[in-house]
């Protein structure tokens, strides 16, 4: 069994975290594919998959609901799936709407939120919103229990672990005493607030205009009515993510300096938050000719292909060796941080990976290629 297969064995949730642009979505999809091939019913939850990856999984028409990837597509790519592969693209706006519809205590609250202009204009466009939705969707699907494994591709925000705090942040806010006072307040009861809050309201009116202020108050008031449900789910998701029997985090990176910095940051952040780290996956690793062509070899190259071409061949080999050396140093740095924890390397594949065949190729490196029926 490969390192990664061992890490995933028996888990119910895999969270793929890492900086943007290192192949996180691809890794999540590849893990989902491999585990479906091993007989599990798997759902991959992704934020914004590249068009062609979505197309090749047959997901072009889906919204927030998970859809099954046609087993014939998997067969055509040489994967004999004993289980099932499902995938969903998280649609922030739609997930928010569904959430409000499901959890509003009554119709009036529901309509007040859905009709609120701040909600309508901003709910989907906001940083943190995607993170929050990912957590909600994870909670929903895990509670339903229809899948053996959920693979969550986290949003490519720069502070990519913020999503861990998103539920807690929201419930903290909704629960705050100040907010409750604010929500109850109107011109008449402002005297109940401290002097600074009174000054605040006067200034806020001046700075924002009354209209906006009232929309904001209504927005928070409506949300306040749902705070219990938000808090409960935030607690449950937190407990699920921290449960090392059920959940594992896979940190995805590339060997470039910045990506390694971020991977190290993520590893530490998981440790500090008491969350179960499983493995690091490093994509796009460059390998190069092991030895530099010395003077003797340069002479040989000249003999083989002539002066001009030999010079370019030697120069090219030197560049790629430099790149491979950069990657080796990056991996070494990450390995030192991991201190024996699993580190899986995926070489730089010649074009970027954007279809099922590509995922199968990635899996040869992630899992040692055991799930491929035939070479193509």
């Amino acid at each position: 069994m490969s390192d990664l297969a061992g890490v995933l064995e028996g888990r119910e949730v895999v969270v793929c975290a890492g900086p943007g642009g290192v192949g996180k979505t691809t890794s999540a999809a590849a893990i989902g594919l491999a585990m479906a091939a091993r007989g599990l019913r798997v759902a991959v939850l992704t934020i914004d998959p590249a068009r062609r990856l979505a197309d090749s999984l047959g997901l072009e028409e889906i919204g927030g609901e998970e859809r099954r990837v046609d087993p014939e597509r998997l067969s055509a790519a040489g994967v004999e799936a004993r289980g099932e592969l499902w995938a969903a693209m998280l649609d922030t706006k739609r997930t928010w709407d569904e959430l409000i519809e499901r959890h509003a205590p009554d119709e009036r609250t529901r309509d007040a939120v859905l009709g609120n202009r701040i909600y309508k204009e901003l709910s989907s466009a906001v940083a943190g919103s995607q993170e929050y939705m990912a957590m909600e969707k994870l909670h929903e699907l895990h509670a339903e229990g229809r899948y053996d494994l959920l693979v969550l591709d986290t949003p490519p925000t720069r502070n990519a672990l913020d999503f861990l705090d998103a539920p807690a942040r929201l419930s903290r806010f909704i629960d705050s005493r100040s907010l409750r006072l604010f929500l109850r307040s109107n011109r008449g009861s402002l005297r109940l607030l401290g002097r600074s809050s009174q000054a605040l309201f006067a200034v806020l009116r001046r700075v924002t205009g009354v209209d906006l202020l009232e929309d904001m108050a209504e927005f928070f008031r409506s949300f306040g009515g749902m705070s219990e449900g938000f808090e409960r789910r935030a607690r449950e998701v937190g407990a699920l993510l921290a449960d090392r029997e059920r959940t594992t985090f896979v940190v995805v990176a590339s060997p470039a300096e910045e990506a390694v910095d971020e991977a190290i940051f993520f590893r530490r952040r998981l440790r500090e938050s008491g969350l179960p780290f499983g493995a690091a996956v490093v994509n796009r690793v460059h390998y190069a000719p092991a030895e530099a062509p010395d003077a003797g070899v340069e002479g040989e190259l000249v003999e083989l292909v002539g002066d001009d071409l030999a010079r370019r061949v030697a120069r090219n080999a030197a560049d790629w060796r430099a790149l491979a050396e950069r990657d080796r140093l990056g991996l070494e740095r990450l390995a030192a941080e991991l201190d024996g924890e699993p580190l899986v390397r995926v070489p730089d594949l010649d074009d970027d990976v954007h279809d099922l065949d590509g995922l199968v190729r990635v899996n040869e490196h992630l899992f040692g290629g055991t799930q491929r029926r035939t070479a193509t």
Binding site: P19, G20, G21, V22, D48, R51, R52, L53, Y119, E121, L122, A125, A127, T157, R158, N159, F173, S176, S178, L179, F182, S196, S197, A199, L200, V203, R206, V207, T208, G209, V210, D211, L212, D215, M216, F220, E257, A288, P289, A290, E291, P293, D294, V297, E300, L301, L304, V305, L309, R312, V313, A317, W320, A322, L323, E325, R326, D350, D351, D352
Partner: protein, 310 residues
């Protein structure tokens, strides 16, 4: 690249995650500085990659000169709010009273889009010849190392969204002013891509979304990390024709050459697709850097490439 990009007052640099937005933003800043302009690169997510790439501590919210003519700032929405309140309210004491109010802090932290609006407000302020900050010197060009395409567009739209929500009042007026500047002739948008399937698709998608959501055209695309075209098809044929002759080390070097040829060819076909689909949008190529890390010398090299095309 549009010859006028360096003549803009404000340039947003966006693109898919991992394509090198920060590097291109810094190189563009350096290119502007070399032309004698006073340039500032704005980071928006507290990453401070620009200043850290130079080995220093983060610059934070202070406008800091990193190289002659090249400044950097990392925009902190809380600090921007403080600044805005001081400017609006006039009284430092009263603005501090408001700012330190916990309820106020909750509200600004929780109101959807507030951080983005404050960030855009500060970007706009930096791009004004008449700065709102007392005694602050104006910049010739402000370059924003913006978030990745989806969120990058979101942040650019925020002022208009708030203007729609607020309908009337000072926020509406301020948001309208910022929005007009962002869609006006003094602002440019540069999308960074890599010559690969997914980043090219995302660039094309971004261009359509920019037109649809903001009603503005993409000014240019920078295609980053282009492999050198060292080997022609004839070279590759010649190497292939050796049929595995040579010592192991020579064969490895020749193999690497064939691989480079194949990669460069794949990239060129993506580059051609990008140019074809973009038709009139200028596309600018930047070389792949085989260096262990990226800092001032590398930005300098890329700035040189940019200058040649400007």
């Amino acid at each position: 690249m549009s010859p006028s990009l360096l003549d803009k007052r404000l340039v947003f640099v966006t693109g898919k995650g991992g394509v090198g937005r920060t590097t291109v933003a810094a190189a563009l800043g350096l290119a502007a500085a070399r032309r004698g302009k006073r340039a500032i690169v704005c980071e928006v997510a507290q990453q401070e990659r620009v200043s850290r790439a130079l080995g220093g501590a983060g610059v934070g919210f202070e406008e800091t000169e990193l190289a002659p003519g090249l400044w950097a700032i990392s925009i902190d929405p809380q600090r921007a709010m403080e600044e805005y309140l001081r400017d609006r309210i006039g009284s430092r004491r009263l603005s501090e009273l408001v700012f330190e109010n916990r309820l106020f802090q909750y509200l600004t932290a929780a109101t959807p889009g507030m951080r983005e609006l404050l960030t855009m407000g500060k970007i706009w302020e930096l791009a004004q010849l008449e700065r709102r900050i007392p005694e602050a010197a104006p910049y010739d060009i402000v370059i924003v190392d913006a978030p990745a395409t989806g969120h990058g567009l979101g942040i650019m739209r925020t002022p208009r969204t708030f203007s729609d929500v607020a309908r009337v009042g000072p926020i509406r007026r301020q948001a309208d002013i910022i929005h007009s500047f962002v869609v006006g002739p003094k602002t440019g948008v540069l999308c960074v891509a890599r010559p690969e399937e997914m980043p090219v698709n995302e660039t094309l998608h971004f261009r359509r979304a920019l037109q649809a959501d903001m009603g503005i055209a993409l000014d240019a695309v920078a295609v980053n990390a282009l492999y050198p075209e060292r080997f022609s098809a004839a070279d590759a044929g010649r190497i292939g024709g050796l049929d595995g002759r040579g010592s192991p080390i020579a064969r490895a070097a020749l193999g690497a050459a064939l691989e480079e040829h194949a990669r460069a060819r794949t990239q060129r076909s993506q580059l051609r697709r990008l140019r074809r689909e973009l038709d009139d949008v200028p596309v600018l190529g930047l070389p792949f850097l085989f260096t262990p890390s990226v800092g001032l010398p590398e930005w300098g090299r890329l700035a040189g490439e940019l200058e040649r095309s400007l």
